[in-house]
């Protein structure tokens, strides 16, 4: 295992950096057969039983404290994977990543809810995941309910919620998490105009205190909220800089590119593994239930 301790020692976090990563990469492991996973677990140190599919490669990024950054890119470019790494939901395959402060991720569509629990119970768990104490959560509960504005539905199981109501609740939880870094991934896509206005007002006020990272396809939102834009394309950073310049580049490129499947193309090795895995899955579907 090549160690990076030498670089780590010389590379200390400057005091104003909220997020810093260097050479960050994420590869998913593609297994042709289910048994290969077990083999990898047992004999992984002798032989590799999977193929790597690199979603992100060589990401160098520094986001200063108090900055607000927009992340744009086409579907499948790796935006969400990047955010998942920054939040700590999934672990990078290689590279170095430092995150200073409490992160509150608002990922697509009111993510981590237990559908059988009521909204209030979900607030208790969701806020505890973000690191809040029970007494703090209970104190903030009225304010959370007011922000979400879903009325008496807050005491109903989440499975009765509409997509918009779920995203309202998710946003309300994260807004009250007292985070240092707020990561918003397309969370406003299903909100109505009034809620969108409220959320934008919150993000606008948050960016004066904390670090904000927004992923969206809504360029107006980026112009309104961000100081800087990062354009993620094909698993790497294609451009990064001022809002106007990067958006112009992006617009030019999207006009030129067609909406075809080329972006999702895999190399030959990965393609073989995927198709084999798909074939196996067809065979074993009835068995695994």
């Amino acid at each position: 295992m090549p160690s990076s301790s030498a670089t780590r020692a010389s590379w200390s976090m400057s005091s104003d950096a909220a997020i810093r990563c260097r050479g960050l990469g994420k590869a998913y492991q593609l297994y042709a057969r289910r048994t290969d996973q077990v083999k990898q677990m047992l004999f992984g140190s002798f032989h590799r039983f999977y193929l790597e599919y690199w979603v992100l490669r060589d990401i160098d990024l520094e986001i200063r404290r108090g900055e607000s950054v927009g992340v744009i890119g086409r579907n499948g470019a790796g935006k969400t994977t990047l955010l998942r790494l920054l939040c700590g939901i999934s672990q990078p395959t290689c590279g170095e990543l430092k995150v200073a402060g409490r992160v509150a991720p608002i990922l697509a569509l009111g993510a981590a809810f237990d559908w059988e629990m009521t909204g209030r119970q979900n607030v208790l768990i969701g806020s505890a995941v973000l690191g809040l104490r029970r007494s703090e959560i209970l104190r903030r509960m009225p304010s959370i309910a007011e922000f979400a504005a879903i009325g008496l539905f807050i005491d109903q199981p989440v499975r009765l919620y509409s997509a918009g109501m779920r995203s309202r609740l998710a946003f309300a939880i994260c807004a009250h998490a007292e985070a240092d870094i707020l990561i918003v991934d397309e969370a406003l896509a299903v909100g109505d105009a009034a809620f969108r206005r409220k959320s934008l007002a919150f993000m606008e006020s948050f960016r004066r205190r904390g670090t904000l990272i927004v992923v969206t396809h809504d360029m107006e939102q980026i112009r309104a909220l961000c100081d800087r834009v990062i354009w993620v394309d094909d698993g790497g950073i294609r451009a990064s800089g001022g809002v106007a310049e990067v958006l112009r580049l992006y617009d030019d490129a999207t006009e030129a590119e067609e909406d075809d499947g080329i972006r999702f193309r895999l190399d030959a090795e990965a393609r073989a593994a995927l198709s084999q895995a798909a074939a196996n899955r067809r065979h074993t579907k009835w068995r695994s239930g």
């Binding site: 200073a100 402060g101 304010s143």
Partner: protein
């Protein structure tokens, strides 16, 4: 409720944020509440993907994990217990009746139908029943966790995939949940003991000292099984056959003293058997557990706990990608 949504919210045109929100961030501005949490994770180069984060090598790392995330563990535990006890119509009744029915059937089978020599050696049915009950409570802990642990990560896959939920806390929650069921059974046992034998011996106060190593052992076991179980479902099938066998390999229906000598050593080598025997001694016989055996038990449990945690940490990084 007047409409589908709060009517006030529909008509309100301004984008006023809740006052509570201002309060939170005002406190912050004054430097009052917020302590900055720093999450620094330098990451080494890795090919296999298993060693993305530096491992916590301290011996007591599994315990400090539990302490660091105590609020979250309690929140999830509270919810799971509420689920069990208010989700079903007769939650409490089941928790009490379940062990009672099991106990009644086993006791009747072994003292009346099969007339085990072991059972008759106890002299009377009631003392055999109590001794078996202690065994069943401890074994019940083990059995529940064994069958649940391999699916633990799959059970919470959605949480793990979509939020920053620390997966290592799930073992703590599972163990504490099983422990609270066992606690209910233990109360039932106490009632029985009071009714049959009178006041329990003073050595019952030693019980927490027996529970601590047992919990450590179970934690290690859950971490290990959960890590392997995340990759392959074979583990849960294996457990289905393994647990009933363990029931007879562990001194649940007999006491270690009933075994011939060579087998007795084996029974003590099984931490579960040791735990059951010590609990029996403390709760029923009024004898404190032998110091040497206890120290051995503690060391073995700690080793299992640390080992299980190490295995879990090793696979934690890629776990989210495979479930």
């Amino acid at each position: 409720m007047s409409g589908r949504f709060n009517r006030r919210d529909q008509t309100k045109a301004s984008t006023r944020l809740p006052d509570g929100l201002d309060q939170i961030y005002d406190d912050r501005a004054e430097g009052g509440v917020a302590a900055t949490v720093t999450r620094n994770r330098p990451i080494g180069q890795s090919r296999a993907g298993g060693r993305a984060t530096p491992r916590d090598r301290r011996v007591l790392a599994p315990l400090s994990v539990g302490w660091r995330h105590r609020e979250l563990i309690l929140a999830v535990l509270r919810r799971e217990l509420a689920d069990r006890f208010s989700g079903s119509a007769f939650g409490w009744v089941w928790a009490v009746a379940g062990p009672l029915i099991t106990l009644a059937i086993y006791t009747t089978t072994f003292t009346k139908a099969m007339q085990l020599p072991v059972a008759s050696a106890h002299g009377n049915t009631s003392s055999y029943a109590l001794s078996t009950f202690v065994g069943l409570i401890v074994f019940g802990l083990f059995a529940e966790l064994c069958s649940r642990a391999p699916m633990l990560m799959h059970e919470h896959a959605w949480f793990l995939k979509t939020s920053i939920f620390p997966s290592e806390t799930l073992a703590w929650t599972a163990v504490l949940r099983a422990l609270s069921y066992a606690g209910i059974s233990f109360l039932v046992l106490l009632v029985f003991e009071l009714a049959l034998n009178g006041i329990p011996p003073l050595s019952i106060l030693l019980l927490p000292f027996i529970v601590v190593p047992l919990v450590l052992f179970l934690l290690g076991m859950v971490w290990f099984l959960a890590a392997i179980g995340a990759f392959t479902r074979d583990m849960s099938y294996l457990m289905i056959t393994f647990v009933p066998l363990m029931m007879f390999a562990t001194p649940v229906f007999y006491r270690v003293a009933d075994l011939p000598d060579p087998l007795r050593v084996l029974a003590y080598a099984n931490p579960l058997g040791t735990a059951i025997e010590m609990a029996r001694a403390a709760v029923l016989d009024g004898v404190s557990p032998p110091t040497l055996a206890y120290c051995g038990f503690l060391v073995v449990s700690l080793a299992v706990c640390r080992g299980g945690y190490a295995v879990f940490e090793r696979y934690k990084g890629i776990l989210v990608d495979v479930i």
